[in-house]
């Protein structure tokens, strides 16, 4: 057993509701995520990808099974800090500028304001939204919001980055550049990366592909294509 594992889960299940109306979003998933892992989580809409991401990120609790973060600490210590997430939907805080949004994880973790803003600004530049840093989220396009969300996820130098549909609102070319930036940043930080997507082009850029369908998780490792 590897004690450096970022995440280790055993027979993980998450069922919403109870009785006849119960919906099994994830059933009996067992997996391990190690430092440096690059995992694409694929599956159709409603297959349970987001649920699995929330469980990995400690945002939600399983109804059965176990999950732990040997190298990251207890659930309470995961965020802000070792784990960060970028969400599928609009998730920038409306009253804060893009820059303040990006700096928020650092500030929540106790970072100094000036330093946080500098780091956040650099990360926004990296994701090509540096020019809208002073704007409010509602002034951005969907694609800009998504890129700002990616920048925020990486601004705090996390050890595990969880991304839900990173390029859903980007054109293919921009999506490609965003994946480049994402992979480069994760590599620089030595962070594990899990990306939920149903875009196979995006999925193919990651060495590991896990698929979820009907709440069942299948893990497979694909040989690195480059």
């Amino acid at each position: 057993m590897n004690d450096d594992a970022l995440v280790r889960a055993e027979s993980l299940s998450r069922i919403y509701g109870d009785g006849l109306g119960a919906v099994a979003a994830l059933v009996g998933a067992t997996f391990t995520i190690d430092p440096g892992d690059r995992i694409a989580l694929v599956g159709p809409s409603g297959s349970g990808k987001s649920t699995l991401l929330h469980l990995i990120g400690g945002l939600d609790c399983p109804t059965s099974g176990s999950i732990e973060w040997p190298a990251l600490g207890p659930r309470e210590a995961l965020r802000p800090g070792p784990v960060s997430m970028a969400f599928q939907g609009p998730s920038l805080l409306p009253p804060l500028t893009v820059l303040e949004n990006a700096a928020l994880p650092i500030l929540l973790a106790g970072g100094m304001e000036a330093e946080a803003l500098t780091t956040a600004r650099a990360m926004l530049q990296r994701f090509e939204v540096g020019d809208v840093a002073e704007k409010l989220p509602e002034e951005l396009s969907g694609g800009q919001s998504q890129r700002a969300g990616l920048a925020r996820a990486l601004a705090g130098s996390p050890r595990l980055v969880l991304i839900d549909e990173p390029t859903g609102q980007q054109d293919r070319e921009t999506g490609g550049r965003m994946m480049d930036a994402l992979l480069a940043a994760a590599a620089e930080m030595g962070a594990g990366l899990v990306v939920a997507t149903h875009d196979l082009v995006i999925a193919e850029r990651l060495p590991s592909r896990w698929s979820v369908d009907g709440g069942q998780l299948r893990t497979e490792v694909v040989a690195c294509s480059g």
Binding site: H54, S84, F87, P94, P105, L108
Partner: protein, 888 residues
């Protein structure tokens, strides 16, 4: 179908918003229904009490040569007359008595012949002080002038002869002497006739025997009146009752065909009550209407707190093809049930409040009145619901693009009023209107003498209205300016709770300044409403107590008509009674100022304040302390009335020669005084002219230091202490013991007929609930609308204390800012209202009374509501709802 589905969705997902809206509608309906019904009942009560305060409704002066029996029949046959008696009036050249070898005489007076049963037909007209209730009765002042008491023989003087001697059976007071001796039939606007200084009441038979021309008396100065009492079944509205009574009087005069003129005391009283009824309306306007407006504003704010979300939902519907009319219908589908639920809840609450505060769900009003106000309040509630939900939706679909409707924060645009500086304009114009009111002596209700109609100077009422609106808008401007330009200051203030997040917190607050300024204004308005209502009511209650104290003199007052005064050992005996804090002498004499006989009060200026309150309003030209010190510094000083200063063109230090009765010969002699100040009111003093001097000087100059009045301050129930004093005095003392509580009940008239205690309870409870509810609700709804924002922050790893920093910073801004600005606005508003409604107060207050305990309770309830709302939100953000996470 879509409407029903939409409504079901709202009921499941937006329960808080719907409940909040319905609660606010309920609040508005509750206040409107309760206050409206209460004031309708009050008008009826005012009429009832005005009528009850008149013992003789009509005094029909018979023309010379009229046969009294025929006139009596005509009066008795007039519709509505339930009792009529003939009263004889005769002039006397004076009265003379001889007691203990000394002969006392008085100036001219009146002798009345009263038929048997007069006192029972006209209860209250005669107040019995000492001795028998029938036979020969002498007025209190006459008895004092003659040094007469029960058993004294008094000779009645008539021009050219003495009519004979009668033996005094009792001493009485004539509380309604002004109307009893009025000049009937004089032109409107003529100066009122002062009642005679000396009065004797005789049984009709004695009067006929001694004075009637048929019995050999001279006809000069002899007349007859028919006194009549009317049925009390009059319209509830004072104005309608007045019209009816005047109509009947005119009808009687026509029936008498010149044989008699009607002195209409009842109409005069109802005339005054008409003005009071207008003041009652104004009170409703000033104290009730702002509450209803606030409840309406609160409903609007609650609706607005969900407006962004509603806009987004409606924008979504529009992108899916919903037409503007359909969107408006969906908004109506939300407004109708919330309005209906609010109306039903409000009416039920009003009924409960009425039962709790007044013992009846109709607040003492008739079923018709209660029903009318209930229906009016219900319609207002439904209109409010539609205005706050449907109207904005209709406006949005007309004016906003779908993209704009999806915006949540936006760059706050300066509203039109702000660009036009409407707040400063309102305050400026309000100040001008107020200045105009100051110039006109705060005459809001105009009731010119001799003119049958009364009117309200509604223009003056603009002053408080403009102040209120101006203060609200200025609060908004200040709040928005602080949030926009004071980020650095806000960050510094937030740092103790927000630590490293202080900058982000202040930035977040700054960008939500529209919502926060709205909350601040609501908080300030509710605080100012609570404060102004509380100050007004407390000041009113304080002045009512001052009024009663003026009439009664002190908590408990012992008076005697005897020249010898009260027993010398009485103060010491009274001070020994449990519940007595202080007891002080006061002389009550009579003094001639020229030919005018006035009451003179001899006091010890240094100690009088121990037994009764000396209000600054009692004196002109300085505080009570200052004026009394001036009097004390000059032993022969005297305080006189404004009228005397004017009549005699007095200047401070001027010599005044008064004539006072000396103990040695019971005759009036000149005593020099020096004018040192003006007294406008004084305990036990009449409303017109009187004098206040040093008791020691009066005693030394007249040869008698005896006090006729003992003023007692109590620490226990005045009624209980009065009972104990009566026991100490004994039944045969001849002195009268009165207490302030009973006096307050007796002197209730006019506007005081409004049960302000009930109204105060109602308003203060409402204001408290509104202040606490509004602040808590506005904050809670504002935070609830940002649950998603907090959920995101929580998902990013924000700890509870960090989320709390956002919540508490906003809460503190709204609470502290709202309370401070609201307190300033409330105090200013109370000042303006009290000044403008000066006519309500008797005497006018020298300063505002601040109900500190109530204000602390309002502040505490507000803070508690805000803390509860904040804690609820922090608790809710600890674990974001699953559905919110799934949305991310």
């Amino acid at each position: 179908m879509l409407g029903m589905t939409w409504l079901q969705g709202l009921a499941r997902r937006r329960t808080g918003r719907l409940v909040g809206q319905a609660s606010c509608v309920a609040l508005a309906v509750l206040l409107l229904a309760s206050l409206g019904t209460f004031f309708a009942a009050s008008r009826a009560k005012m009429t009832k009490q005005a009528i009850a305060a008149v013992p003789v409704d009509w005094q029909v002066e018979l023309a010379p040569g009229t046969r009294p029996a025929k006139a009596l029949d005509a009066v008795a046959a007039t519709p509505g007359v339930v009792g009529a008696l003939r009263v004889g009036y005769a002039d006397s050249t004076g009265f003379r008595s001889s007691a203990a070898g000394a002969v006392q005489t008085t100036g001219p007076g009146k002798v009345l012949g009263l038929p048997a049963g007069y006192a029972t037909t006209f209860p209250g007209e005669i107040r019995y002080l000492v001795g028998a209730h029938d036979g020969v009765l002498l007025a209190q002042q006459t008895a004092a002038n003659l040094g007469a008491t029960v058993g004294t023989k008094v000779t009645i003087g008539r021009p050219g002869r003495s009519l004979g001697t009668v033996t005094v059976d009792g001493i009485v007071d004539l509380p309604f002497a002004d109307s009893l001796f009025q000049s009937i039939g004089v032109a409107p606007g003529s100066a009122p006739t002062a009642p005679p200084d000396n009065v004797m009441l005789l049984p009709s038979s004695t009067w006929q025997r001694l004075l009637h021309p048929a019995a050999g008396g001279a006809a000069d100065g002899i007349s007859s009146q028919i006194h009549a009492r009317l049925s009390r079944a009059l319209p509830a509205d004072p104005g309608s009752a007045f019209t009816q009574v005047v109509g009947r009087a005119k009808n009687l005069e026509a029936a008498l065909g010149g044989a008699g003129l009607v002195g209409d005391n009842l109409a005069a009283q109802l005339d005054a009550t008409r003005s009071d009824a207008i003041y009652a309306q104004l009170l409703f306007l000033f104290l009730g209407f702002p509450g209803v407006v606030l409840a309406a504003l609160l409903t609007a704010v609650v609706a607005a707190s969900g407006r962004e979300r509603r806009r987004r939902e409606q924008a979504l519907l529009r992108t899916r093809g919903a037409s503007p009319p359909r969107i408006v219908r969906l908004a109506a589908a939300e407004a109708l049930p919330t309005g209906a639920v609010g109306v039903v809840a409000g009416l039920i609450a009003a009924s409960i409040v009425g039962r709790a505060a007044f013992g009846t769900s109709r607040f003492g009003a008739t079923t018709g009145q209660a029903l009318a106000w209930g229906v009016a309040a219900a319609l207002a509630g439904l209109a409010l619901s539609f205005a706050t939900v449907v109207l904005p939706a209709w406006r949005d679909v007309r004016l906003l693009t779908v993209r704009a409707a999806q915006a949540t924060v936006g760059t706050p645009r300066k509203p039109l009023w702000s660009r036009l500086y409407l707040d400063l304009i309102c305050l400026g114009v309000g100040g001008l209107v107020y200045w105009q009111a100051v110039k006109s002596g705060y005459q809001v209700v105009l009731a010119p003498e001799g003119v049958p109609t009364i009117s309200v100077d509604y223009f003056t009422l603009l002053a408080p209205l403009l102040f209120w609106v101006g203060a609200a808008l200025l609060t908004w401007r200040i709040g928005a300016a602080v949030l926009a330009r004071g980020r650095g200051v806000l960050a510094s203030l937030a740092r103790p709770v927000a630590h490293g997040l202080a900058g982000v917190v202040s930035a977040s607050m700054s960008r939500q300044r529209s919502a926060l300024a709205r909350g601040l204004v609501i908080m300030a308005l509710t605080a100012s409403f609570a404060l102004s209502v509380a100050i007004f009511n407390t000041t009113y209650a304080a002045q009512a107590r001052v009024d009663a104290q003026l009439t009664n003199g002190a908590d408990v007052t012992v008076t005697t008509a005897a020249a010898a005064g009260l027993p010398a050992g009485l103060p010491a005996a009274v001070r020994a009674i449990p519940g007595v804090a202080a007891a002080q002498w006061m002389q009550h004499r009579f003094a001639y100022v020229g030919n005018d006989l006035q009451d003179l009060y001899g006091i010890d200026p240094a100690t009088i304040g121990r037994a009764t309150s000396m209000s600054d309003a009692f004196f002109a030209g300085g505080s009570a302390r200052h004026v009394l010190a001036t009097l004390a510094a000059r032993p022969d000083g005297v305080l006189v009335s404004d009228e005397t200063v004017h009549d005699f063109q007095l200047r401070p230090g001027d010599l005044i020669r008064l004539r006072l009765q000396f103990a040695s010969d019971h005759a009036y002699h000149v005593v020099p005084f020096h004018y040192v100040g003006i007294a406008r009111e004084f305990p036990t003093a009449p409303r017109d002219s009187f004098l206040v001097a040093n008791a020691a000087y009066v005693g030394r100059m007249t040869g008698s230091a005896a006090g006729q009045t003992l003023l007692v301050r109590t620490t226990a129930s005045p009624q209980a202490v009065a009972e104990r004093v009566r026991a100490v005095m004994g039944p045969a003392s001849g002195a009268t013991v009165r207490d302030i509580v009973t006096q307050q009940r007796i002197t209730l008239s006019g506007l005081t007929a409004i049960d302000l205690a009930g109204l105060t309870r109602l308003e203060l409870t409402f204001a408290l609930a509104l202040a606490a509810g509004a602040s808590g609700l506005v904050l809670a709804l504002g935070l609830a609308e940002r649950r998603r924002t907090f959920a995101i922050a929580s998902a990013l790893g924000a700890r509870s204390r960090q989320l709390a920093a956002f919540v508490w910073s906003e809460a503190a801004f709204v609470a502290v800012g709202g309370l401070v600005l609201g307190a300033l606005a409330g105090w200013g508003l109370a000042y303006v209202i009290v000044k403008i409604l000066t006519g309500v107060f008797d005497p006018p207050p020298g300063r505002l009374s601040i109900p500190w305990s109530y204000l602390v309770a309002v502040a505490a309830a507000t803070v508690a509501a805000i803390v509860a709302a904040g804690l609820g939100m922090i608790r809710a953000t600890r674990k974001p709802a699953v559905e919110i996470l799934r949305d991310l």
